[in-house]
Amino acid sequence: MIFPFSGEVKEVSCVLSGAAGLGIQTVEDMLARIVVDSGFSVFGSREYMSRVRGGNNSTELRIAPFRVDALVDRMDILVALSRNVRENIRERITPSTLIIGDKEELKGELEDAGALFVDVPLSRLAAEAGGRIYSNSVAAGILLGILGLGTEKAEAFFEERFSGKKGDVAGKNTTACRSGYELGEKLVKGKGLLSGMQADLQVGKALINGSDAVSLGAMAAGCNFVTAYPMSPATGVLSFFAKHAEKAGAAVEQVEDELAAINMAVGASYTGARPLVTTSGGGFALMGEGLSLAGVMETPVVVHLSQRPGPATGMATRTEQADLELALYSGHGEFPRAIYAPGSIESAFSLTQEAFRVALKYQTPAIVLTDQYFVNSFYNVRPDDLFFSEPPSPVRETGEGYRRYEETASGCSPFGVPGWGSGIVGADSHEHDEVGHVYENFKLRKRMQEKRMRKLEGMREEALAPKLYGADEFTDLVLCWGSTIPIFKEALTLLDLKQTALLAFEQVWPLHSSVDALLKRARRIVAAEGNSTAQFARLLRAQTGVAATDTVLKYNGLQFSVEEAARRLSEVFSGTGGRS
């Protein structure tokens, strides 16, 4: 037994909380890197207020000798760097939480929170190291001491990050970190929490968040045109491409509004570029007409739609899964589209490629649906586990007499671009003939509408099947999609229900043909979603006629935790909650 932790420690959950601008992110980056380099797995998730300075933000680091990819409520250690720790953190404090804070800084806060409070002179140690700004490195040192990971890797990190900075910033950070380390080591009597766990030096070393996974997937698919108007939480993808524009060979532009973003994407696509726009619900709402344009012009366009709570401005830095129906039904008129909702870093990488592949093949929009929780969460993965799909084939040269909207059995016309070949390439937002010229002809209209919608049949045949986890011979089925998948997967593992399985959807439109039969086999269906009306369950019912019997919904702006998911599922299964 290690003071103050009782029993066997299987994994450690650390939460750092503090005002924006205190350097929590630096600590998070560094600890995650050190943990992984020491042979353990790490999951990190950030929640933050919509402000640049002040407020109170937190980050959770879950450290384990096995893969961790889901948010937990449990806090083994809470490091409070500043006062005004918010309710969403406070309510997670339990008697087994070790709270580390500076009494002078916190002025009594958290001392009687019902947990063990350890006063550490963060400010004084930081000042001794060179200034109060180093208190984050003292805190990092304490955590490294408690975990028993040494300070060597931290010192190397400081050297690399701050080399060339005036005033020996790296050295001061090192001093601060070492003094914290001594304290941390003492707290656990020199027996670091990870010392009893089996390290695996083959553990995945790539630390990737959801945003970067989408960006890397897009880049791997040959995305070379990115336009966006900055909007949380979707801006990370724009920044990624801006930073790597030269390497990606991509045209990247922050534009005047979302209408410009999507209309540039359609123009670029007509010219043979592979465009991506990245936005959140409000911006995507503005793109509706442009999405419809991509539909009728049959131009491949990929949209990254990163959800946050609405309606309207909603909660800018929080999470929700309430834009599924917006993604499904946005854009006037009828046209085919595909919607992907990755649940893991690996699938964000592969599904973004899939979105590009399908958009290109079927010459129609594809949407990658993520959310704030997903894009701001990271964990370590093996680069070898990241799937590279077939790269796009070169655009074919047009011949004389080329017709952009030639009828075919699949509905997909040969894709030609202006400036490559001897054909004229036209595109029109009106209903048009094969060449692309506007004609008001009712037979033509019917034929062209059928041509476009025929593509949906092929897309349906290629749709990805949902994954079934748990009992093969299930009677009860839990449904979820996108970012909540790993959370509900782990929750069900905890509950260990013999007749329950999880059906996890990462493609939410069109649906795979297996869905119908799977739903009909279930006696009970629990729809677990991050919205208030069970949008996906409604879609499934419309498509299969099978209704969910129960719902587990969350829409307060925060993601489900594993514990909450487990608790709410068990309430449903024990008959005390959730029936719809």
Binding site: E246, K247, G249, A251, N263, G267, A268
Partner: protein, 285 residues
């Protein structure tokens, strides 16, 4: 005169006597005289009577949404800078619905030509006021006459930093053609606002009115910005011709990192798999 941009055997839905016919002739002749072929040119438009132009000539064409021709055209040029891109539309399309794009496209300076058929009225929707309608102009919607101040596209373009700003008049095919030629040759965003009578819905700004209230500039030095601005602000009579031709500055497409090491248009590019693998390596450290 026939041109290689003629599209024979088509039905044109403009009203007989519409100024658009003459502008169409000016555009086709200008492109022909510049030695361009229909395969070099993409004509981009939004919605409106003027925006039907791409359907009435032979060249690549992109007829998009109302107000959005400039973002479309900017992207087409950015995706393949070797294409000659001409964005056409009316006053409502470019200055009303697409007003924000007009402002920002000028700042962005893509190497495109922007032709605006300005008849000071909405033709397609049958006669409502446009952003350039004169004050007091009565319509079925502006029943007491237009209250708002008319939009001044030339002055706006000049203060936004446009390098090429001109006004032409549909009634003079030859001179309008010459202005368009100069605009196409200019490397950077070039605006030509083309005065044009609407024979169906504008009984104020008629052929006769334009004849009386406009004049072609003679001996004006187009490199003189302040003179250009004062000409842009002068009315009745309205000056026609190239008001401003500034020094060519870096175009949008020329500024893109995408072309720093690779001059190929975007459609020719393979997926940068090695670069992705390198980035992944970097994320392991």
């Amino acid at each position: 005169m026939g041109t290689s941009f003629d599209l024979p055997g088509i039905e044109i839905s403009w009203c007989p006597g519409c100024g658009d016919f003459k502008i169409l002739d000016s555009i086709k002749q200008a492109l022909e005289e510049l030695g361009l072929s229909p395969l070099d040119v993409v004509v981009v438009s939004g919605i409106g009577q003027a925006a039907k132009t791409p359907h009435y000539m032979k060249s690549h064409f992109f007829n998009g949404l109302h107000g959005r021709a400039l973002p479309n055209a900017t992207a087409i040029k950015a995706a393949n800078p070797s294409l000659e891109v001409v964005a056409v539309g009316g006053d409502g399309d470019m200055y009303g619905e697409g007003g924000n794009h007009f402002l920002h496209t000028i700042r962005r300076n893509p190497g495109i030509t922007n032709l605006v058929f300005n008849n000071m009225v909405y033709g397609l929707t049958k006669g409502q006021a446009s952003p350039t309608s004169p004050r007091g102009f009565r319509t079925s919607v502006q029943v007491d006459g237009v209250h708002a101040q008319p939009f001044n596209p030339l002055a706006t373009a000049l203060v936004q930093g446009a390098g090429f700003v001109a006004r032409a008049y549909a009634g003079d095919v030859e001179k309008t053609k010459d202005v368009i030629k100069e605009a196409v040759q200019y490397k950077g965003y070039a605006l030509v606002d083309i005065f044009q009578p609407c024979v169906s819905f504008n009984s104020v700004n008629t052929y006769a009115w334009f004849k009386e209230n406009t004049y072609w500039l003679d001996g004006h030095d187009p490199s003189d910005f302040s003179k250009a601005l004062s000409l842009a602000l002068s009315e009745e009579p309205f000056p026609l011709g190239v008001l401003f031709r500034g020094e060519e500055r870096m175009t949008f497409e020329g500024s893109l990192a995408a072309y720093r090491n690779d001059k190929n248009p975007l459609f020719r590019r393979a997926a940068p798999r090695e670069a992705v693998k390198k980035l992944l390596d970097g994320m392991c450290r």
